[in-house]
Subunit: 199 residues, 2 copies
């Protein structure tokens, strides 16, 4: 309905998650009315993110070099790995200040309906990290929903026979919820009360 | 909480209207995971919109040249102008396919609480367009809220003495709606504006 460039921008914005046609239109007209400098900053941020951000070779977290900040930090405990689904979950756990070990980002959860199987996740990389015996505990912090639980069960069956303690975040997290939306206190309690599974 | 480039992008996205911190994070991680080509298309659309889009010299609508598509169209009627608040309202009216005249975009509505007075709107440009007597009717299609009504009243007092017919879009029940859910003011307007049928 709009002339070329405006409609193109509305179309592109409408492809973003959680941005419907009305929001896309609202954002486009907001950008039309704002300073060219503000739009340049957004363009620069978009360009930089694709140019500079990569995934950590060790844990799969977002990083601006071969190792992410957590993996590069010598003060973190090497004997425990917290397994999460997505890089944003690392930030959520870090915010609790309860956890001082390492991470492993799977890149999702097992989800047969969306054709995500174990081979699509960074599971073999996790097993490689456990091979030398340094790690004595793996904390499964996948989301407390069906896919996250299935992934945790799958992992505990793989890892427990290797002689590594496998734990799961305690109840206290709302079931059917999403790790991303948990508050710090609840998530901290869940760390304290983690249970050994698959023994 | 995130490393440089990711956090910068989340901050910039969070400045957009209707995008909160959670949405900004979700969009940023979506963009991290998508093809570089998709991000380039978004960047290109943002850049093009600022480079190519301007406001029509005549009506104030968005345009990619000195005149917008409606003003440049010789088939549109020259004797009637529909006055709207924003460029997006032009699109809404066009979608009805009921209107074949010209437009005038005010760039907002009179709103004392936000310090928007008549001088901040494109009112003098509207009066200039009415000066040569070509226009015989001005349809006031500002929003049916307090600011839109105030703006319509202000404009009708300015324009009616010039010998131009001034009309206001009808207020009433939305088609496909339900009498039970109509608010009192709307229902009152629907009674006021009732039309004789079946005569």
């Amino acid at each position: 309905m709009y002339e070329g460039a405006v409609q193109d921008l509305i179309d592109e914005l409408g492809r973003l998650p959680g941005v419907g046609p009305k929001s896309a239109q609202r954002i486009a007209f907001h950008l039309l009315a704002t300073d060219a400098a503000d739009v340049r900053r957004l363009v620069e941020a978009l360009t930089q993110v694709k140019a500079r951000v990569q995934f950590c070779e060790t844990c799969g977290n977002v990083a601006e070099s071969a190792q992410c900040r957590v993996c590069a930090d010598p003060r973190r405990a090497d004997d425990v790995i917290c397994v999460v689904e997505e890089p944003k979950d690392v930030v959520v756990v870090e915010r609790t200040r309860e956890y001082r070990g390492r991470y492993h980002v799977l890149g999702g959860a097992i989800n047969p309906l969306e054709n995500v199987g174990p081979d699509d996740l960074r599971i073999s990389q996790l097993l490689t990290r456990l091979a030398d015996g340094t790690v004595t505990e793996v904390i499964l912090a996948t989301d407390p929903n069906v896919e996250g639980e299935a992934t945790a069960t799958y992992l505990s069956r793989l890892i427990a026979p290797m002689g590594v303690t496998v734990s799961r975040l305690a109840s206290g997290l709302p079931v059917g919820g999403d790790l991303e939306y948990a508050d710090e206190v609840t998530l901290g309690r869940a760390f304290e009360g983690r249970r050994v599974v698959g023994a």
